[in-house]
Every structure is written in structure tokens, then in C-alpha cells.
Amino acid sequence: MPSPLFTVARTEARLLRADRTALWSTLIFAAATAYALTVGLDLRAERTEAARAILAADVERWTEGQAEADSIEQAMRAEGLPLDSYEWGPRSPYAVGMYYGRDVTTEPTPLSALAVGQADLYPASHQITAGNRVATGTSDALTSPLRLAAGSFDLAFVLLYLLPLLALALGYDLTASERERGTLRLVLAQPVPRRTLVAGKLLARGGLLAVLVITATVAGFVVAGGGPGRWALWTVATLLYGLFWLGLAAAVDARGRSAAANAVVLAVCWLGLGVVFPAAVTLLAGQVHPAPTRAAFVAATRTAEADASQRGTEPLSEFLADHPEMAEAVGDEEAAAESFAVMAIARDAVVAEAVEPVVAQFAEQRARQTAFVRTVGALSPSVLAHAAFLDLAGTGDAQQRRSLDAVEVYQDEWRAHFEPLVFADTPFNAADYPEAPQFTPAPEASGARQTGGPLLGLALAMAVVLGLAVVLHPRAPAP
């Protein structure tokens, strides 16, 4: 004799198969998933192609520079000229280090096909040069602002917005329609605890939800190419999120109102938790920790630059006082001040120091805002699921911070390499090309560590609503 739980679940599954709402929800969800995957893959392919093109062009330019330097040196040797002089071009540390520079780029992560996140906002590449610190990290925007504002139709969107709807469609009439049809009285006249009935129904409907979620995530990871560890975390996050909404529907259903009344309450809950609350948290974060606008940053930079250029050679004296090893290389300070390159480096240092407080304030406020959103936002499962998806896909705040840090580290290395050459006025020979620092993109973090918090939050949220459903259902009014 099978247990009543499975008897209920099995019959419920049969009833679901005959139910058109469930059928249509499933079909729409499947179609949306398929569409989202093509959108995500297209976007990733586009960005990968762009990154590779930039990388290839950069390597080509670098190799050509080296070859050209080599041929110049051969010509000089042939003419018996010493190699310690140079002209503007591939042998000039000024030209190579401060004008040509290098374009660094990071390829999109494989899973950015599933969650575009912030990836569509960031520039495809950064030009790294010495003596130009404050200019990194911005370029012309080539994606339609309308499209950016609307957001991408990626798998994360489908799971974040459509999955709750599917779960609510599966759960809003958990017992309500049986009550309205009258079968609930007949069922509860049998020796089955109401809790078992609700659990059996949830098992069947949750099972369908789980099958759809797992199918969607497996499909996503197969086409996007992600590892099993991330797949497991992603799937668990999605399941917890989906079950939260199903549990919420079950808890609301326990009030014993009509299916239509449940639908009304749940629509309001969805809008509140999924849309209004996250937006309110973002708004509040901006009000509690206001960051200066970029206009203030630009103005501060301009003022500092103008100031530095009006102070004549003072910035150089300050720079040399701070960097005695450079003073040695320079020798004659007055002669060095004639060099545009030397002055550019010195002024850049002065400007960077001057705008440091603005930059620091900016970074601090932004970090506070992010922390605020992460803590207060944890009250909304949508915010948690969103954070988990982006962290796992490597398209969230943390990964972006790491990528930018890697770029900044590289820029420091680049500066440290070329500044002494500029100060000592030594040529950048063909043989020096391989010695120049190479960029290594930030390793993609596993995302597992950051995901721990959101997963815990989601598990808690799910436990709360399922617990409510279990506690409230036996107390529901008479069928």
C-alpha cells in the first residue's frame, strides 16, 4: 500500500497533466528559456569576437613595433651609429610607453551567456599608457541606451521574473480550486491529514517546477559550457528561489480564500518583493550613502590638471623629491624639464595625488552602497537570486571590481617599467620588447564563496514560507 503522500502526489500529477494552465505555463517557460539562451549566446559571441579582435590588433601592433625597432637598429648598426640615441617611434620609450601603450581586454566569461549582468556596460578594452592614470575605464558607448535600460532577455531574467510567475501559477490554487469545485470536502472526509494533502500537492507541483528548472539550467550550462560545481550552485539557487514562490503561494492559499483572491494577493507580493522592494533599496542606498557624481570627479581632475600645468616645473621637483632613484637617472633637472614626456609623468603624479580624495570618496561611497544593497536587499529573494546568478556567471559587481583591479595593477606595472626609461632617456630597443610587462586578466573567481550568503538567504526565505504553509494549512477554515 503506497503512502497517502504519494497517492496524493501521483493523482495531483495526473490532474496537472490535464490542466491547461499548467500546460501553457510550461510551454511559455520553455519557449522563453530557449529564446533567452539564444540571446545570451549571441551577446557573448559578439563580445568575445570584439575582445579577440582588439587583442589580435594589439598583439599585431606590438609585434610590428618590435620588428620596426629591430630594422631601425639594423640600419643604425649598418651605418655604424651608436644605439643609445632614438627618435619618436617604436624605439622611443615615450612613444611606446605613453602614447601607443597597450590595449588590454578580458574575454567574457562562459556563463555571461546566461546572465549578462553588468557585462554589457563595461568597455571592451582599456588603453594602458604611462602618465595618463585618470583616463582609464571610459570609452564611447556603442550599445543602445534603450536596450541597456530595458535589460537583456537572458536566462537570468527568465529565472528571476518568469519562474516566480510559473511557481505562483502552479501554487495559487493549491487547495482553493478544489475547495471551489467541492472535491476538497470529499478528500478531507477521508482519513488523510490536511498536512499530508498539502505536502502531496506541493510534491507534485514542486516536482514539475524542479523538472523545469533543472531542464532549463542543464540546457543553459550545456550550451554555455559551465562546470558542474557552478551548475550545482546555480541550480540550487534557482530551485530555492522557485520553491520560495511556490511556498509563498501555498502559504497564501492557507487563508482559505478563493483562487482569484489568492492570485490578487500573490500578484501584489510579486510586484512588491520582485520589483518595488529592490528598486526601493537601490533608491535608499543612494540617499543614505550619496556618491559624488562623475561631473564632480571630472571637474576636480580638470582643476588639478590646470593647476599642475600652471605650476611650471614645480611638479617635477616634487616628483623627484618623492622618487630619489629617478632623480639619479635624470641627472640635470632643468634639462629634464624640457622633456614633454618627463613633465607629463610628473604632472600625472601630481594630478593623481590631487584627485585622490575625490576618487577615494567615490570608491568608499560606492562600496557602502553595494554593501547596503547586499544586506538590506537580502530581504528580497529576487535580489538574492540576482546576486547569486551574477556572482556565478562572473558578471556581477565583485568580478567587475576584480577585473578593474587587475587592469590597475597592470597599469602600475607598466608605469613602473616605462617611467625610469623616460627619465633616464634610454631607448626602448627591440630586445626590450619581450621585457615589457604582460597583462594577465583577473582569474575568474569560482563565485562559490560570495554565493554562500545569497544561497543561505534563499534557503531561509524558502523555509519560512514553507513553514508558514505547513503551520497555517491545518488551521485553515472548514472546507
Binding site: 467541492g182 470529499l186 472548514a478
Partner: protein, 244 residues
Amino acid sequence: MSDPILHARGLTKRFSGTTAVDALDLAIHPGEVYALLGPNGAGKTTTINLFLGFLAPDGGEALVDGLDVQAEPLETKRRLAYLPEQVALYPSLSGAENLKYFAALAGHDLTEADLAGFLDRAGLQREAHARHAGTYSKGMRQKVGIALALAKGAKALLLDEPTSGLDPSASVEFSGLVRRLAEAGAAVLMATHDLFRVKDTASRVGVLVGGRLREEVSHDALPTTDLEALYLGHVREAEAPVLS
């Protein structure tokens, strides 16, 4: 005489101020068909709900086969079969599938042959067994309910307005089924206001008005009682202004 199967002792239920069932004493024995006669709102359905454990009493107790409904909700439901006014079945399942499901919930795993047998005994035509229940008439759905009672081997039957909305021939057929179940040893509580049907089905009649059992007519007195006059008298009395 044997112990009563359906037994109410001082059973009382109040809903926000009004008393729906007022100190009801009732004892229905195996083989008896007890008709609870009363106007709408008299407390008939509330009484059934109390026996089913859908409501908790505010006073007294409802016992099924000697077990308190509140203390032993599952055990008492095992012994009960219940036919609501509208027997609702899952429209996308066949009658047999509906029966199989409800019987399984009651702990009876029925084979195809069992299902056909019970449905036959309940009088459902063979061709209807495998049809979707959405196409059934009220009478056919009731037969599935009766088949469930048979399958459960229920000791007690709770019938809520079973004959309302049935055409006369279906009504006669249903009464016959109920009588046969009683003859087989079930105790039947039938809430109704169908005076005509009570006469040829019930073995005992109670008149419930305003939640109180006004009068009981025994089996022996039944053939000679003008039920209509009795019923209307009690209703008028309850509605009449209280004279000081």
C-alpha cells in the same frame, strides 16, 4: 441494543454569537437511517461538519463508533463515508479513477475488478465507469460516492441533502441504495428537507430547527405521523415572536 455508531452528546457549535447547533443529543445505531429534518440554516450541515471533524465543537462531543472525532480524526474518518449535497469529482478523471483515488486515501488499494464491482453495486452503468467524471450527472456522481462507501466498508454514512436536484426516478433509486447500505449494517445520518423521501427511506426522524432538536419521531410512529404538519409547526414556533 448495540452501541450507537454516530453519537452526539450535548454537541454545541457557535458562530460569532449565533448558536448553530445547540446541545444536540443524537444516537444512530447500525441499520438505522436517521433523517435530520430542518429548514435551511437549521444546523444540519454544521452537525455533519462536526462529525467529519471539519469544525471543532464549542461544547459536547461527536463520537463515531465510540471514538471522539476531535481526538481521533483519522480513525473516525476511516469509519465514515460522506456524500455532500453536490458530490464533486475530478472532472478530468474517470469515475473509476476517482473511486480509486479516494479509496486509496482511505487506505484501500483497489484492483480494476474491485473498482468495477463497487461501481456496479452502486448502480453506475458499465459504460460510464471509464468516462470522464466531468460528463456525469449528479446521480451518477452520487453513485461513485456510494461506491466509495462500499469500498471503505463504512460503518456510518453522512448524507447532506442527497436527493435535492435529483429527478424522481433517480431519487427512488438512491433511496433504495441507502436502505440496502443500512440493511447491511451501516448507520446513516441524512440531512434533508425532502419530506416525501424521508417517509420511505428513514427509520427515524429528528426535527432540527435553530440548532435544537425539537422532536424525534420513532420508527414505529413514523407511518402514522403527518411529518409536514409536524415540521411546519416547529418552524413556525421557532419563528414566532416570544410572548411575554
